[in-house]
Amino acid sequence: MKKGNSRRSFIKNVSLATVSTIALSGCGSKAFEDFLQQNFRTLTKKEKDEIVKNLELKYKEQYGKEFHVSDEGAIDGTLFGYALDLSRCVGCRKCVYACVKENNQSRDPQIHWIEVLQIEKEKGIDFADSNVQYNPEKVPEKGYFYVPVQCQQCRHPQCTTVCPVKATWQEPDGIVVVDYNWCIGCRYCMAACPYGARHFNWGEPTVPAEEINTEMHYLGNRPRKKGVVEKCTFCIQRVRKGKYPACVEICPVGARKFGNLLDPESEVRYILENKRVLVLKQELNTQPKFYYFFGI
């Protein structure tokens, strides 16, 4: 019995050694470093800065452009909130494509962080009968209204609690983010999200070099790889610099409002205090920071 055991363990050891040598020799030291990188939240400022610098070099090599990757933390005293005027949205989908461009979403296979639902007015907010494929000559169509849905940035995000490796979490300014280096692609978070706001890179994402946005954030719009989950971050690379998200700036009807929920003079606070406001799937107690309102 002992003899058989030793042969088995010998074969096991030899094959393990072979596999690991192949694995290690197959990738360069950079990839090995990537492999050993810790969860983003446990890194020191110095480690983060170094990782970010390496990423800038890597992207420069890959796309032949200067990149700026930020690892900026949350601004003190901010809790970001969003409000969308359902009485104004005409369903033109300009936000969808502005978001794709700003956040370097994969063009093929296609990933959209924003989905615009067309719903019959008679039915009210009824997701089962909603249509994202509408494609008339002109919008809005008579008898329909439009509900753009993206990450609702919940105060109680279910997606983060199910993540087995803690690759996704809520930042102090309320933005739910993903560390693409730490994500193992199990897609539990996608199953947990009641809004379908998370998207999986089933294939190697492609972004044309001439269209890539070079202003990046580690937790936001930097290029993803195959097998990781991504989602709306309120344009973390913009809002932490004080700018409005890209979807707010593109909206031709001014239906999208953004601001600091802790600032009593912000536009979102005015809306919460003066307009009729609703959140999607309130009964689930996810407590979104993405509000829908009626401006009229």
Partner: protein, 196 residues
């Protein structure tokens, strides 16, 4: 005997090991949890959170006048002003053609000044530069005007806590036909079944 003993403690030992791992990992999770400030508390004392950045607001450029139409008095100086309400047939037919802004009850001189065509005129008789046309709109659309002033109606671009540009009423609405025009939608997403 000894083998049996080991076998009997193997399972409990395994369970203890799992419990220990869970305990340790839970502790770790605790330590990396972000410190989200108590929102309610923060809102209560939120007067102190007002952004320290001074909010500056600027109007974006108003849309340009049609070619050669301004200053109006270049032509109008040569015509005696006619205050009677009528449909214009010789001049400004493009505007008469599209005019759809309570057209039953209103016409040019409800907003444009009879004597000085280079200015708009409020109901009070006060003359108003074209750059301040929103004040004229606000006479009737008070609720919209109120929302617009705080940035809820209409559109602003720039910084959420700082310098921003706001669009004027006339940037989005044609004052002679203010209903928002239909738009051509961007292409729909690729259907799941069409993804290769």
């Amino acid at each position: 005997m000894k083998e049996k003993f080991y076998r009997s403690i193997k399972i409990p030992a395994f369970i203890i090991a799992i419990c220990f791992t869970l305990f340790v990992s839970c502790k770790n999770q605790e330590s990396v949890k972000p410190e989200i400030k108590d929102e309610k508390k923060a809102i209560q004392k939120s007067d102190s959170i007002k952004s320290d950045k001074k909010v500056e607001e600027f109007a974006v450029e108003a849309p340009p006048f049609s070619d050669g139409i301004f200053p109006c008095m270049d032509c109008h100086a040569n015509f005696p002003p006619k205050p009677e309400r009528r449909i214009l047939t010789e001049w400004h037919e493009d505007i008469s053609g599209m005019f759809n802004h309570d057209s039953e009850n209103r016409w040019c001189l409800d907003c444009h000044d009879l004597k000085n065509r280079d200015y708009l005129r409020l109901a009070s008789g006060k003359l108003l530069d074209f750059k301040e046309s929103y004040k004229l709109c606000g006479q009737c659309h008070g609720e919209k005007y109120r929302d617009w002033k705080v940035g809820v109606h209409g559109k602003r671009i720039g910084e959420w806590n700082g310098k921003k540009e706001y669009f004027l009423c006339v940037n989005c609405h044609n004052p002679h036909s203010p209903k928002f025009k239909e738009l051509t939608p961007e292409p729909p997403p690729i259907r799941q079944e069409d993804i290769k």
